[in-house]
């Protein structure tokens, strides 16, 4: 499933980074690579962006950007 489809509390392991170009590169540099554990923490009050927990830190991503990350729960 896509990271963007996760509800707060859901997450899993990254299987693939679908986003390409600078966005894909930035996501991977930040640690969203194969095997990384991620969890959606919450969604912003206006419905977007989402906050995720990744390794030891928290990252904010727009939903459209979270579509670039495939995970398995």
């Amino acid at each position: 499933m896509l990271l963007s489809a996760c509800r707060p509390g859901q997450g899993g392991r990254v299987t693939r980074t679908l986003a390409e170009g600078p966005l894909g590169q930035r996501l991977m540099e930040m640690g969203l690579i194969e095997g990384a554990r991620v969890q959606v923490v919450r969604v912003a009050p206006l419905g977007d962006p989402v906050e995720i927990r990744l390794n030891d830190y928290h990252l904010s991503l727009r939903k459209a950007e979270a579509e670039g990350v495939e995970i398995e729960p």
Binding site: P22, L46, D48, H58
Partner: protein, 727 residues
């Protein structure tokens, strides 16, 4: 001597991820011995400080990676590779890393290890990591990575001496060995590229991985545009072998970091952290938004209200200074002459007009520094991103826009916090459309004079509605302009909103005060000089040509008054009247007055007479000046105080009496609305223009902002009047 001394200065570069305490470390290492400037051609700030005699530190922009996407990151990479014009290549790199978030921070460390420079890692925030249950063994990590690691707590100045010692030990040593090997597809292409262009591996790797990046530009510059074709082919072959080059790079580094770090880091469950608990509230759907609204209202009210007494004080101080100088010159040959006026109305008023902004700038930057230092700024962007996205901006633009309701000068300056250059520029260009506090006197005067105090729909005061409409107009136009700019002049790919939400931290008083000090200094020195120059030019256009005829005729009138045998009070009142009338006559006869006549055909469709046109021209340095200018033109003197009821009533009465040659009154509701709309949308503010120039490093954008806002203001005023007279 001096030449060899200059040559022997060694330089250390300080680099690190954002939110790792890099600024704290830089300030702790160098104290106040800092030089702040700009890199040529870009608006990236350059900071150099002295560690000790012969040893300098250059603070590079915060970056997660050497794959440069923004101008900030590009500068960091260029300096490290020795490709930044005018900057010598550093002799050593200190990478600051957050001990609590080791893997991601070491990603940048592995990239810096490839630059061929000696590296020292400052492992910061050991205390916070410990609190969160993360224990790092620095010695073990040092041997696993092969670079010196100095554990420290920069905020408490712990580990500074050790860092200095490690830096000095390491100067002149060879670059660290890198322990990872690239997967065959990447290694093969790198090898081929190495044969084609004799360049450092680090540059070749960056060129291969970062499509359209700085390294590709550099290679194409040195080896011809054919390199681009070669790189495209290489990237395509790597992708065919499984994944994009960027994925190979990231996975290799993280895999190596993982195996190097794992034996030397232990974790225990520290429970829910303070940041998690705080964020459950601060970014909560309901409470988070409420806290945000209260906080922003608070910030706004403080800039808007608390700066007031300080501004009044500065105003009063310069008023006293003006009186003092006038007093000093009284009885000398300079009394009442051009020199006195230049000094009093040009220079002193101009300097006062610069310093008057300082309270608002200091207050705003105090808040920004506090919010940024404690980590809330990222949450503000998180909360507001959706709202600003529909006009093509991001959550980062919220604070600059909001601050501009108090004053566009600090608002434009605070756009520095926006990393993406196109978003930053769009924000800077539309921020002055927010109705700032300087528009208030204009609105108050005209609303009081020409809008009836009727009540609409039973409870809404009409005057209040007109006020609100002016604020609303600014917001709507700003949104539309931002939308258009992002689709035309500032078009480009949407920058990723991939943003770290750092742990909350106690702000450092030292960082906060330095930040406020830098903002105040930058404004005073760099924008202030331009504002002062503009003020003096405007003064001259307002003062000259100073015709002898007016002087002579008023001298005759004065003599006549004195000869009338009035009692002392009546004579004084008469002389005062004459003085006001004379000031009005000079003003109407000034170059601005003549320009007013000249542009009358242009402002006639707005319902304005030449005097309003002239007042609009003369209010270029600051739009609130228009009230005083109208006061002088209509013979009321320049001391119109819109907050004082009698003074305003007198002005209102006078404006209502102004008539066209055929007897129709000049001022009516449509004219008042047209003036208000004009001042709501125009950029009649020398300080804003000067600040945009300084912040964008270019007159082009400053003039663009002035031009487009003036055109919009004219069109808006035209519409307001033409619709107004037909309704």
């Amino acid at each position: 001597m001096s030449v060899s001394a200059a040559a022997s200065v060694r330089r250390i570069a300080l680099i690190g991820n954002p939110n790792t305490g890099k600024t704290t470390l830089f300030n702790a290492l160098t104290g106040l011995a800092q030089r702040v400037g700009n890199y040529p051609g870009v608006t990236v700030e350059k900071k150099i400080g002295k560690l000790e005699p012969g040893l300098e530190v250059i603070d590079l922009p915060g970056t997660y990676s050497l794959a440069a996407h923004s101008p900030d990151e590009r500068v960091a990479v260029d300096v490290l590779l020795g490709a930044q014009a005018g900057e010598p290549r550093p002799d050593l790199v200190v990478v600051i890393a957050d001990a609590g978030n080791l893997e991601r921070n070491l990603y940048l460390v592995t990239q810096v290890m490839e630059t061929g420079l000696p590296v020292v890692v400052a492992l910061n925030m050991m205390d916070v990591a410990r609190e969160n249950g993360i224990a790092v063994d620095p010695a073990g990590l040092e041997s696993a990575l092969g670079v010196p690691i100095v554990p420290m707590v920069a905020a408490r100045r712990e580990g500074l001496d050790e860092l200095r010692a490690a830096v000095k030990r390491r100067l002149g040593s060879p670059a660290p060995k890198t322990g990872w090997t690239w997967p065959p597809p990447l290694a093969k292409e790198l090898e081929a590229l190495r044969h084609a262009c004799q360049e450092e591996d680090c540059l070749l790797l960056r060129a291969l991985v970062d499509e359209g990046g700085a390294a590709e530009e550099a290679l194409a510059g040195r080896h011809g545009a054919g390199v681009r074709e070669r790189l495209r082919g290489a990237r395509a072959r790597i992708r065919e072998a499984g994944k994009p080059a960027a994925a190979f790079e990231a996975q290799t580094r993280y895999a190596w970091i993982g195996q190097a770090v794992r034996p030397h880091v232990s974790r225990r469950d520290a429970g829910v952290s303070f940041t998690d608990r705080a964020d459950a509230l601060l970014t909560h759907r309901v409470f988070g938004s409420a806290v945000f609204a209260v906080l922003m209202t608070g910030v706004f009210m403080v800039i808007f209200r608390c700066a007031g007494p300080f501004m009044d004080f500065i105003d009063a101080m310069f008023g006293t200074l003006q009186e003092g100088v006038t007093g000093l010159l009284a009885g000398t040959a300079l009394e009442g002459g051009a020199f006195e006026s230049l000094l009093v109305d040009g220079v002193i008023a101009g300097v006062g007009g610069v310093l008057i902004f300082l309270p608002q700038i200091c207050f705003l930057f105090l808040f920004i520094a506090l919010l940024e230092d404690c980590g809330y700024m990222a949450r503000a962007a998180f909360l507001m991103d959706r709202l600003l996205r529909f006009c093509g901006l991001s959550g980062h633009s919220f604070i600059p826009m909001m601050s501009s309701f108090a004053c566009a000068v600090p608002g434009v300056m605070s756009a520095r916090t926006i990393a993406n250059p196109r978003d930053r520029l769009a924000t800077i260009l539309v921020a002055p459309l927010m109705s700032c506090s300087a528009r208030l006197p204009v609105y108050s005067l005209l609303v009081a004079a020409f809008v009836s105090d009727a009540v609409v729909a039973g409870f809404l005061p009409l005057r209040g509605l007109v006020f609100a409409a002016m604020y609303f107009l600014g917001i709507v136009v700003a949104v539309a302009v931002a939308f258009l700019l992002k689709r035309t002049l500032l078009k480009g790919p949407t920058p990723p909103f991939v943003m770290e939400l750092p742990p909350y931290r106690r702000p450092s008083p030292r960082n906060v005060s330095l930040r406020v000090w830098e903002a105040a200094k930058a404004f005073t020195v760099r924008a202030g000089t331009i504002i002062l120059a503009i003020s003096i030019v405007i003064w001259a256009l307002n003062y000259f040509p100073r015709s002898d005829e007016i002087a002579e005729s008023y001298a005759i009138l004065r003599e006549a008054a004195e000869a009338e045998g009035l009692d002392e009070d009546a004579l004084a009142a008469r002389l005062e009247d004459l003085e006001r009338l004379e000031a009005g006559a000079y003003q109407r006869d000034s170059y601005f007055g003549r320009m007013g006549h000249f542009i009358e055909p242009l402002v006639r469709p707005l319902g304005w007479d030449w005097r309003i046109g002239m007042a609009a021209l003369a209010s270029f340095p600051a739009r609130e000046v228009v009230v005083a200018t109208l006061g002088i033109i209509y013979d009321l003197g320049g001391e119109v105080d819109v907050e004082d009821d009698t003074s305003r009533a007198r002005m209102v009465e006078r404006l209502q009496a102004v008539a066209w040659p055929d007897g129709r009154p000049v001022f009516n509701l449509p004219v008042a609305l047209s003036i208000m709309v004009f001042f709501a949308l125009c950029c009649q503010c020398g300080a804003t223009v000067a600040t945009i120039k300084r912040e964008t490093n270019s007159w082009k954008w400053a003039l663009f902002a002035f031009a487009y806002m003036t055109v919009l203001a004219y069109v808006g005023a035209l519409a307001a009047y033409q619709i107004g007279i037909r309704v």
